[in-house]
């Protein structure tokens, strides 16, 4: 599965960067969402993808199976998802404020109207 995920991740990265290069600032936000998802997926997939073996130790004391999913990247990605949301909320509010002050959505015009 990992090679397919590699291609998918590449596609998300490309889409994210294309969006971030647009002049419209709203598109930049969508690029931001895409790129953080791509990064999360990258960390998750690189560590290896395992089916049907969540990193949960059975409560009844049964031993674990031989192969279980790696819990460490999962913990990393979990916090990363939440942090990405925090950063996103900050970014959208910042952008909203910038748009209100400058009155345009275009990054190029924003630079020229530098206030």
């Amino acid at each position: 599965m990992e090679p397919i995920m590699a291609v998918v991740i590449g596609v998300i990265y490309a889409a994210a960067i294309y969006m971030m290069l647009r002049r419209s600032i709203v598109k930049l936000v969508i690029g931001l969402i895409l790129i953080s998802n791509a990064a999360n997926l990258l960390i998750f997939a690189t560590a290896g993808m395992t089916r049907d073996a969540p990193p949960l130790i059975p409560m009844n004391g049964d031993p674990l199976g031989d192969v279980i999913a790696d819990p460490l990247p999962q913990a990393l990605v979990l916090t990363a998802i939440v942090i990405a949301f925090g950063v996103l909320s900050f970014a959208v509010v910042l952008i909203r404020r910038a748009c209100q002050i400058v009155g345009v959505d275009d990054l190029d015009q924003m630079k020229e109207n530098d206030t």
Partner: protein, 766 residues
């Protein structure tokens, strides 16, 4: 010894408090520090003279093999005594010169830090220790030159001094590192004991050039001499201390220190003799060009530094003895002369020699000191300067190479110096009394102590040179030679060639002094040529630097985020991709083990990402991004990450809420780019995405290191008392990370709040 050196820094920190407690007596209290150092050095002297050097060491950065090590031998002792002895007088002097100056405390802080750094330089054994203290002297010198920081010229001069010495400092560092490579040791002592292998090392010449680059800039050798006269913008105590007696001699010290290891070769002799001789004559010649008393003295210092360099270049026992004698004599008389100059400036309010005259009656003690010191500068019998000059001529006469050239140059230089000495010592004090901006009277006691002691020493040592010669100078000369030296100093050398040269220089020099205004007129005619000297080159270089900086800023800092992104991404893809292809090659492990539903989900994710880019409406784009997010949640669920799946689902929901709240108050998407731009952006995007795919495929094929997850899986229940390993990692094993992350989250929330609330407030205030 560390304590002795570092105490100055500690004391510097305490100065603000001290000056509050002690008021105007602060200077007196602070002068105890250099005085104590001087006493301590004197008490160590017998030990040093017998054993040939004391050694102190303390670990600094053991992992790099660096240690804070100090080494006290004859040469260090001589320098240390000059630094601490003159330092004591200077602090006393400054308390008079800068009496009631609002920033006197700052001056003390700087001068004490400088004193400590300078002691560090001359006692350092580790190469890096030396370098650190060396740079510290440059920095403190910068701050002291710019002491009157409200004066633009002072700031400019300070910066000039800093840039020149720092450039040299860089060269010095490269030189020291080469030295370490060649001799595989960080200790000067070890390195110098095996000079033979250093001199024959393939890196000898580059090493020598780098080290001399450092020494020449610091010691104001031609063509770097211009910063020193400009440094006279500093208050006079600073000029007396840093720019004549101590700091500028750091470069000389370095060369003397390295002489046993690197000296004596063809390259060493040629460079040092030629540069030294040129500096000597240029300095002495330029001294006659100016009427500012400090400028004249500064150029005569340049001349003395050139002489010292030349003597080191000549090598041999006679030259070494001449070197240490000249060094000591110069520190004594030049210190005294600068302090006299300061007293004149302080009492009359002018620095121009032409505006002074007949002060002999009003300032008799100052005049006497000036006279004695100037005689020593001119090398008149029976002063210590005469002994030094005799020795210098003798060494030059015995020089193994370039003898004729050196004799000519030194004769010319000493003629000019005699003239300079006359100008400084005679013109302000004799002749008719001239009206000055302030009514002059004798300087206060604190300002007289320094010149009196130093001039007195010049006189005493003139009659009894063996007082210094037998112990201290002997040991210092020996340290420079790297061998035992027998110094036998006496005043009268008999009627010989050296004496003849002395007499000639004295006579011609006095003649020049008498006809000085005429001579200056002649020199003035050459002004256009002189103004095109190395200093003009320095300013051209500075202009160029500023222009290049402006140009490249305009080029790189366009202010368009797009350009930054494209540049960053292209360099990233180019460099990483190149490395990947060259090092690894396109070899991937493409074993596929897939199920249909997984492929469908993957396709949905990829497709929705692309659709999000193509949508014209914001709602559609947000929806497509949302579909992608849910697809990713499904992937998490399919591949055993239930926690991630839940988190992702919840975040997707909240993201949509957030975007609805914000984005739909903003303008619609507009089509702003041209087709060309789109193609360019697509190219960058596809390149980066492709590289990420390649990178991931490469990483998948190899197991780089064992994961620490094993430990966490094994210990989750026994140590963490939890069955959900992910959660145990979050709140127990890696709780510190999580703590950091909730702090970030809080900061984001505060940022949002601040921005929105601020805006609400602004609106309320029309």
């Amino acid at each position: 010894m560390q304590i002795a050196v570092l105490a100055g820094f500690a004391l510097a920190i305490l100065v603000p408090f001290l000056s509050r407690w002690c008021g105007s007596r602060t200077g007196l209290v602070l002068a105890l520090y250099p005085a104590a150092i001087a006493c301590w050095l004197v008490s160590l002297a017998p030990q040093v003279l017998q054993s040939g050097g004391l050694y102190f060491e303390q670990a600094w950065a053991p992992s790099l093999g660096l240690s804070l090590s100090f080494w006290l031998d004859g040469l260090s002792l001589l320098f240390g005594l000059l630094i601490s002895g003159i330092g004591t007088l200077i602090i006393l002097y400054a308390s008079g010169y800068l009496y009631n100056h609002p920033q006197l405390a700052r001056f003390y802080v700087l001068i004490l830090s400088f004193m400590s750094s300078m002691l560090g330089v001359v006692m350092a054994d580790g190469l890096m220790t030396l370098f650190v203290f060396w740079e510290l002297t440059s920095i403190t010198s910068y701050l002291l030159i710019g002491f009157n920081h409200e004066d633009a010229a002072a700031r400019k001069s300070a910066l000039q001094g800093l840039l020149v010495t720092f450039t040299g400092g860089l060269a010095l560092m490269s030189g020291l590192i080469l030295l370490n490579v060649a001799g595989s040791s960080w200790s000067l002592q070890t390195l110098l004991s095996d000079g033979e292998s250093l001199r024959e090392h393939a890196l000898y010449l580059p090493m020598l050039l780098c080290l001399l680059g450092g020494a020449f800039t610091k010691s104001a050798q031609f063509p770097f001499h211009f910063w020193l006269p400009n440094a006279m913008a500093a208050p006079t105590p600073v000029s007396a201390y840093l720019h004549s007696a101590t700091m500028v001699k750091a470069g000389i010290y370095l060369m003397a220190r390295l002489q046993p290891g690197l000296g004596g070769t063809e390259a060493w002799m040629t460079i040092l003799c030629v540069i030294g001789a040129i500096t000597m004559v240029v300095g002495a010649f330029l001294a006659l060009r100016f009427t500012g008393i400090k400028k004249v003295l500064a150029y005569s210092t340049v001349m003395a530094l050139g002489t010292l360099t030349m003597l080191l270049g000549i090598g041999g026992e006679a030259a070494m003895i001449a070197f240490v004698t000249f060094l000591t004599a110069h520190s004594l008389y030049k210190g005294a002369l600068f302090m006299v100059a300061g007293a004149l400036d302080h009492e009359t309010g002018t620095k121009d020699i032409d505006e002074m005259g007949g002060l002999r009656r009003l300032m008799p003690i100052t005049a006497t000191c000036a006279f004695v010191a100037a005689l020593s500068l001119g090398g008149v019998i029976p002063l210590f300067g005469f002994v030094a000059k005799e020795l210098m001529f003798e060494a030059v006469l015995e020089a193994p190479r370039y003898t004729g050239f050196l004799i000519g140059m030194s004769l010319l230089a000493s003629v000019l110096v005699v003239a300079a000495a006359g100008i400084v010592a005679l013109r302000p004090f004799f002749g008719a009394l001239k009206a000055t901006p302030k009514t002059p009277h004798e300087a206060p006691l604190s300002m007289l102590a320094g010149p009196c002691v130093l001039a007195g020493l010049s006189l005493v040592l003139g009659f009894m040179p063996w007082l210094a010669g037998d112990g201290l100078l002997n040991a210092a000369a020996g340290a420079v030679m790297g061998a035992e030296v027998v110094t036998d100093l006496y005043l009268w050398h008999g009627l010989n060639t050296a004496l003849m040269m002395s007499m000639i220089s004295l006579g011609v020099g006095l003649l020049v002094c008498w006809r000085w205004p005429g001579v200056r007129g002649v020199i003035h005619r050459f002004s256009p040529v002189l103004d095109r000297g190395p200093e003009a080159g320095y300013w051209k270089l500075m202009d160029l630097l500023v222009r290049v900086a402006g140009w490249q800023t305009r080029l790189l800092q366009s202010g368009y985020m797009r350009n930054y992104l494209i540049l960053t991404l292209l360099s990233f893809t180019g460099l990483t991709g190149y490395t990947l292809l060259v090092r690894h090659g396109p070899v991937f492990d493409l074993a596929l083990d897939v199920r249909l539903q997984e492929v469908v989900v993957a396709l949905v994710i990829a497709a929705s990402a692309i659709v999000a880019c193509m949508m014209r409406s914001r709602l559609a784009a947000v929806a497509a991004a949302g579909v992608m997010g849910f697809g990713i949640a499904l992937i998490f669920l399919l591949f055993s990450a239930p926690d991630l799946a839940i988190t992702q689902l919840l975040i997707e929901t909240l993201t949509v809420i957030l975007l609805i709240l914000v984005l739909f108050r903003m303008p619609q998407f507009a089509s702003l780019s041209t087709p060309m731009e789109r193609v360019r952006d697509m190219f960058v995007a596809v390149m980066t995405g492709g590289l990420m795919t390649l990178l991931m495929l490469t990483v998948l094929g190899q197991d780089l290191f064992t994961s620490i997850s094993e430990y966490m899986i094994d210990n989750s229940v026994p140590l963490g008392h939890g069955h959900n390993i992910v959660n145990v990692i979050l709140v127990d094993f890696r709780a510190l990370d999580t703590l950091g992350e909730i702090f970030v989250l809080s900061l984001a929330a505060i940022g949002v709040l601040a921005m929105l609330r601020l805006q609400a407030k602004e609106r309320k205030m029309p």
